[in-house]
């Protein structure tokens, strides 16, 4: 019997040597004269263990990690290539039965259910693990029933804005038929600390293809585009492979799974502009223009890509859809708290012992995520600040660790969950420097269309330089607060509008780093 060995193809695993490990395992097997099949699976999301090598015995998978190419020899010596019972394989990198690992056990994986388990580019594997069940059910429904199902699930846009997905779909559904409509997937995951989109696109690309196909059928769109950032070449490869396979099997094309619905899908690559993660900028870019943000209205749902009705959703929103259809809206909505329904794939990153992907129902506290699941800092120093929601998210101090993961709860504390990336900083971080960086990033990435963002970010950076040099601190901090106020309320999109979150939260919670000892600026966050 051929042994199956799993070595992830996920970019995070590859960046830590997974390709070399796979090659070494293949060579070792050849030398030993053992038949092995090396499956390049997605990542399980326990990224501190990558590359995580798994072997299979009677349907149960056992893991070893993090495996360096130089560990392969000792793993082979321990017996991973022989049919040896696993309890006789002793190796320091062994983590036992992978599914029993507490990090996975504590999660509720609806979106990432298959990620790390299957061969991402095998349609056969996808189908064998409940893939395309959602589409099957959707095809038996009227388009408006699909829209209702998504609305009832309570699913909100996972890109950060949290807008109800069902309402977006309904708006496009209700535009007149007989015109070209589009489904656009926002895969421009530019926020530092986020990688869930990348992981799911690399680890289960058919899920996104299925989600977009269902969206197309629901709203009457026959064309879809995935706008993928250029920094994700591995995701592009996986997506294109999945699209080709779906086409060949009749899941994409003029007749989706034999139905009267047509749906074509194409991947387009961005070009390094952070602002293109903003939906209207993204549409401009897809059309072949500078990624200048559009004023709304008109909404993309009415006038989107090429002026046509367009659903534009984040990767994770679209990837939640197959579950909602397959298992029903209620099954999804049963998870969560308040108006935040379902699960959120949370990304634990930065200076953290156990960084990775943790999908769980809304409601878990920030403290549980950082201290308990994330294991505290990798450096071993105390946590100073945690940035939630990417470069435009607020810095939270330990004092706010009781905040539950929920759109409204974070908003109430002048923060946002954004795309659910959490970046942990230890006590060596200088928060004035981080505030300056937020302005600088905004000035580099501003599309330039609106003045508060274009000019405000540059003036903000200059003023922070003065603050950091100790020049007229009180007066300059007043300028910072004033600038933030203008940017927050005067910018056209979230880039300028949210840059005040990291700046003001840093100033509010860590005034001592700004040369403002002791004074807490609760009012400044207003």
């Amino acid at each position: 019997m051929t042994l199956r060995i799993f070595v992830p193809r996920d970019a995070a695993a590859v960046a830590c040597g997974a390709d070399e490990v796979a090659t070494a395992l293949g060579a070792a097997a050849k030398k030993a004269g053992v038949q092995v099949q090396i499956v390049r699976n997605g990542s399980r999301g326990m990224l501190w263990l990558e590359p995580l090598v798994e072997i299979e015995r009677e349907g149960v998978r056992y893991g070893f990690g993090p495996v360096a190419p130089s560990d392969v020899e000792s793993l082979v010596k321990a017996g991973i290539l022989q049919g040896k019972p696993v309890d006789q394989i002793k190796h320091p990198l062994s983590i036992g039965v992978v599914d029993d690992h507490p990090y996975l056990k504590r999660q509720t994986r609806l979106t990432f259910a298959r990620c790390g388990i299957t061969d991402p580019v095998s349609l056969e594997d996808y189908r064998a693990h409940d893939g395309y069940k959602g589409l099957e059910r959707a095809l038996a429904m009227k388009p408006i029933e699909i829209v209702d199902e998504v609305a009832k699930s309570g699913l909100r846009g996972r890109g950060g804005a949290g807008f109800p997905t069902g309402i977006k779909w309904k708006t496009v559904h209700d535009t007149p038929m007989g015109q070209q409509k589009y489904i656009v997937c926002n895969a421009d995951e530019g926020d530092s600390g986020t990688f869930a989109d990348r992981m799911i696109m690399e680890g289960d690309p058919f899920l996104l293809v299925e989600g977009m196909t269902i969206a197309g059928i629901a709203v009457g769109a026959t064309r879809g585009y995935i706008y993928l950032r250029s920094e994700y070449p591995h995701a592009a490869i996986a997506l294109n492979a999945a699209i080709d396979a779906a086409k060949a099997a009749g899941y994409l094309g003029s007749s989706v799974a034999g139905s009267q619905h047509a749906f074509e899908l194409e991947v387009r690559i961005g070009a390094g502009a952070y602002v293109c993660g903003e939906e209207t900028s993204l549409l401009e870019s897809l059309e072949g223009r500078r990624g200048l943000v559009r004023a709304k209205p008109p909404l993309p749902a009415h006038k989107g890509l090429f002026g046509q009705p367009t659903v534009i959703n984040n990767v994770l929103s679209l990837c939640a859809v197959p579950f909602v259809l397959a298992e029903g809206a209620k099954a999804y909505a049963d998870y969560g708290m308040g108006r935040s329904r379902g699960t959120m794939p949370i990304q634990l990153a930065g200076n953290l012992k156990f960084g990775g992907l943790f999908e769980t129902a809304f409601g878990i506290t920030l403290g549980e995520l950082v201290d308990d699941i994330g294991g505290g800092t990798l450096s071993g120093r105390p946590v100073k600040a945690v940035q939630v929601g990417g470069p435009l998210g607020a810095y939270f101090p330990r004092g706010l660790f009781d905040t539950p993961f929920d759109y409204e709860a974070f908003a109430a504390r002048d923060g946002l969950i954004g795309h659910a990336g959490i970046v942990v900083f230890d006590e060596t971080a200088n928060m004035a420097k981080m505030a300056r960086f937020a302005f600088e990033f905004c000035s580099v990435e501003s599309c330039g269309k609106c003045t508060p963002c274009r000019i405000g970010s540059t003036r903000g950076r200059e003023t922070m330089d003065k603050v950091m040099a100790g020049v007229d601190t009180a007066a300059n901090l007043a300028v910072i607060e004033d600038l933030c106020n203008t940017m927050k309320f005067g910018s056209l999109c979230a880039l300028g509008g949210f840059t005040p979150y990291p700046v003001m939260s840093a100033l509010t919670h860590f005034p001592e780093d700004f040369g403002r000892p002791g004074k807490k600026l609760a009012e400044a966050a207003e």
Binding site: A12, E287, R289
Partner: protein, 157 residues
Amino acid sequence: MSRFEPWSEERTVEIVADHKGLEGPLMPILHALQEAFGHVPEEATPVLARELNLSRAEVHGVITFYHDFRHQLPGKHILKLCRAEACQSMGCEKLVERAESRLGVECGNTTPDGRVTFEAVYCLGLCATAPSAMIDGRIVGRVDANRLDQLLKEAQS
């Protein structure tokens, strides 16, 4: 020997023709040009404008908006270090300083001998295995001083 072909109008027209059937073809065309020529030279602007029935200003505007499109040929090797927040939390700025001092150029430049273009990148999505780097398209995680030195050696070869 450059790994890229020299720019030619003929090849540019050919590449445009390959993509003309797409909706919104400009971005795919610019990517294809850069892949062929290593950059998108100024001479390409009027050709693209003519072929796509756009103004030169529009084409120039697009090329200069996006960080990815190069206006000059890069060095023999391209080394990128991520400088976004997650990598900052793991000390990427120290690595940037180290690379700058070893290479003798500031981030964003090519060494005078044309061997290495050293750039920042804002997030490779490897935020739980930070700091991250990319060398000639290959991604590298958990970069420390030792690994950076290996990468620099590779880049300077």
